[in-house]
Symmetry: C2
Subunit: 280 residues, 2 copies
Amino acid sequence: MKIAKLPEEIQQLSTDWHEQGLTVGLVPTMGYLHEGHLSLVEAAVRECDKVLMSIFVNPTQFGPKEDFATYPRDILRDLRLAYGAGVDCVFNPEPKDMYPEGYATYVKVENLSQRLCGQSRPDHFRGVATVVLKLFNITGADYGYFGQKDAQQVIVLQRMVRDLNIPIIIRRVPTVREADGLAKSSRNVYLSPQERAQAPGFYAALLEAKELIDDGETSVSRITNLVRERIENIPLARMDYIELVDAQTLLPLEKIQKPALLAGAVFFGKTRLIDNIFIE
Amino acid sequence: MKIAKLPEEIQQLSTDWHEQGLTVGLVPTMGYLHEGHLSLVEAAVRECDKVLMSIFVNPTQFGPKEDFATYPRDILRDLRLAYGAGVDCVFNPEPKDMYPEGYATYVKVENLSQRLCGQSRPDHFRGVATVVLKLFNITGADYGYFGQKDAQQVIVLQRMVRDLNIPIIIRRVPTVREADGLAKSSRNVYLSPQERAQAPGFYAALLEAKELIDDGETSVSRITNLVRERIENIPLARMDYIELVDAQTLLPLEKIQKPALLAGAVFFGKTRLIDNIFIE
């Protein structure tokens, strides 16, 4: 497995691969890999000749009061896992090579970026869209793999790809969960044992709402109120938001219209977890 | 010469060309071609195997009170000129195919976009950067050709290409002028005979400043004051701005430091003309 630090090395590698007629899949990550990331690699290995993984904790998608400095990192373990999963090359750049002096260009997907998580993280999706566009250009990838856990991210990126005519296909890969239902996330390591014990209640509440919908409930307020009540009853949980929205525009719905997205963010202590269910 | 209206047609054509090992040059224009545009084509023909010209009056780079609706158009004449100059394919899309319903993504080059022309045209370079990035993605071009007359545009786009790791090389092609020095521009047709007669005074003033610099003057205020005075003495001219700035950051200089850019915008009646001289 090759490891590269400079954008130019990756650009050259990808050009070589394409000249050999090989397809290239990109799995963008912030490292501290878990089975969610590995399921993205698995999908990429199945579909592409060569698989590139980027490992980069991207400063521009963290707010000034967020956890950029403390975000968990373990590059040696990541490299071992990437190698084991079949990654052909890891791109692990330094911030100064991604954002050199005088850096000034940002991509913004209007509207979508301000909804759901965008309300408490106003510049987050601008940072995500910008770094992902850079990674698409650096890697020249034919396919990009993203987890459904970050549903809004995938929707924002799909809009960006369509709008900017980027020649890449985006794949959304199902969320990988712990045995008790908690969505795998690098941030789960922040949770205290008590918080960790209560965190699965978040997904349980979403599942209960899904059952209600499957049973024929169409009132969005009844559905979201159920979830909010369940979250309020988890002692260590503090709700950021729970919303049921159109899965394309992310605009609030009054009555269920498919495809819809039931999504939320919940704090356990200082740790903000997100999760969602697509209603298709 | 092929003529295409849909982004997908161009994407396919460019993929075919690249698979044949051919290089592709892009000349983005808003049509109403003049010799300035044709000099871009000439440079592209010299350097690339295939030359694509886009003709698209891009609505997102016009302000609400600007001349989008009245911008001069003559597509049949343009096609004849493009063919004569050696263009292989013209891309002439409809706004609805460039900005379909739900379109939401914009690229902004901070700082640079707010200086010089950005002061009176606050969203102009956002529109330019966005459409040019789309054209780069649609055409997959290896080289892009832009006129020095739009100096700030070239500087903004070079920054965008570096920042977003776009695999394209940007060429800046010297300004083409009328015999009396007026820079060629599609907007020159707006000028009344009286305005047209006085318009060359703008470039004459820039040239006079250039001589002053060549003679050793280093005080930026003395240089710009000379130009402003000369413009004030043209009866039908109304100055928008005259500035002498760092050619990379576009920040004002106090003492000449090379490379510098002496740039301005001057109204003749309702017609806003721009021109500049690089000090290298």
